[in-house]
């Protein structure tokens, strides 16, 4: 399967610290997620982009659970499926859970949609609520496009503290999203 091979190659490069490949992986995955969730949440179209973002964050935070001997498509589908069910449960969407979700990873990757809608929940605002040691590394690295080394010099943190700050901050962001549900 062509998608499997391409995504797997990109993810493995990403896990090997190739940020460009990793970005392409997330971008392609996000288009599949968007189409999948638009179809599944056809009654709640304005929630789709929030859930796309939440799922991307989960994929990123859980990337250590991927093993190179597993199909990437099955792994990503299981995460998307989990996030969708979790969302449906916490929003008590009637009847939606009875509508059995396809166990086949193929469903996620059968379509793709790169037209992002506006997210309702602003992750940028949530980011503001994180403690400085997590917020500052994320803001510098993201907003100003600084490298880890430059951010370390600017904030006076060590390089590993910047990396850990970004890492923990993204985990904390996911936890805050969960807390809002």
């Amino acid at each position: 399967m062509e998608i499997e091979e391409r995504l797997r190659g990109l993810l493995l490069l990403g896990l090997d610290a190739d940020a460009v490949a990793y970005q392409r992986f997330l971008k392609e995955l996000s288009a599949h997620l968007r189409a999948f969730l638009r179809r599944r949440l056809s009654q709640r179209p304005d929630e789709v982009e929030d859930l796309v973002q939440e799922t991307l964050l989960a994929v990123h935070n859980q990337r250590h659970t991927y093993r190179p001997d597993m199909p990437v498509t099955a792994w990503a589908h299981a995460i998307a499926r989990y996030k969708l069910i979790d969302w449906l449960r916490s929003h008590r969407v009637k009847g939606a859970l009875n509508d059995t979700l396809d166990e086949e990873a193929g469903e996620l990757f059968s379509t793709s949609d790169s037209e992002a809608a506006e997210a309702r929940r602003d992750l940028g605002k949530l980011l503001e609520t994180l403690p400085d040691r997590q917020r500052l590394p994320i803001l510098h690295v993201k907003l100003e496009g600084l490298s880890v080394v430059e951010t370390a010099q600017l904030t006076g943190l060590s390089e590993s503290a910047v990396k850990i700050g970004v890492h923990r901050g993204l985990k904390a962001l996911a936890a805050k999203i969960r807390g809002m549900a």
């Binding site: 610290a17 940020a19 996000s30 250590h64 099955a74 792994w75 499926r81 940028g124 980011l127 990396k163």
Partner: protein
């Protein structure tokens, strides 16, 4: 924040993951659980004065093998349940082997025993306390294995919680076997499994509450 920006942000965090590998976490949790149970046992029950003599009995080792086999099967299952999209496969069937072997042994013992003795073989002298002692000793492993699962991404939370409970029950039984005076397989077949069932059920209840990610 637009999705495009989020992707850019996540990409800056590309690279090897600092979190410990899942297998390593479970191994660490098991060791911590065993150590914790050992300390708890010494504090609550004390160490048996005739421990060395009991070691001469085959069933002393039988109990350890049974508990260790269940713990190993539980771990094999958990490391799969901890990863999204990884099939459980044969790991679940493997879990059934130790109890089935034990039940077969118990059935053999009971069928050879005089009818009047059968109840005594099942109840032993400690049936009232045994399951609760095992459950008590499983507490450190229970906490540790939930910690290990928190660092992973189980997608079926009740099942994963039950798996963690079972692993900790087996580890609790492994340590309790050092103290437990019972040597009859019919006793073990009922009460050891009952003791492991307590943390397993608790894990199934707590999983969906504690393991969300």
């Amino acid at each position: 924040m637009r999705t495009e920006e989020l992707i850019q942000l996540l990409a800056t965090d590309a690279g090897p993951v600092p979190a410990r590998d899942i297998e390593q976490r479970f191994a660490l949790a098991s060791l911590a659980g065993i150590a914790g149970a050992g300390v708890l046992m010494a504090a609550v029950f004390g160490v048996r004065h005739d421990l060395v003599q009991t070691m001469g009995l085959p069933m002393f080792w039988g109990k350890l093998v049974f508990a260790a086999a269940l713990a190993a099967a539980g771990m094999a299952l958990l490391r799969r349940m901890a990863r999204p999209g990884m099939a459980v496969g044969h790991a679940a069937a493997l879990l059934a082997v130790p109890p089935l072997v034990l039940w077969a042994m118990a059935a053999g013992t009971l069928s050879q025993a005089e009818p009047a003795e059968r109840m005594a073989l099942i109840l032993g002298s400690t049936w009232r306390s045994c399951p609760f002692n095992i459950a008590l000793l499983s507490v450190p492993a229970f906490i540790a294995s939930f910690w290990a699962l928190k660092g992973a991404a189980p997608t079926r939370l009740a099942w994963a919680g039950a798996g963690a409970g079972l692993l900790s029950g087996a580890l609790g039984a492994l340590v309790y076997a050092l103290h437990c005076p019972e040597m009859a397989s019919p006793f073990l077949a009922v009460w050891y499994l009952a003791g492991m069932a307590l943390p397993t059920a608790l894990g199934a209840v707590l999983g969906p509450r504690l393991l969300r990610w």
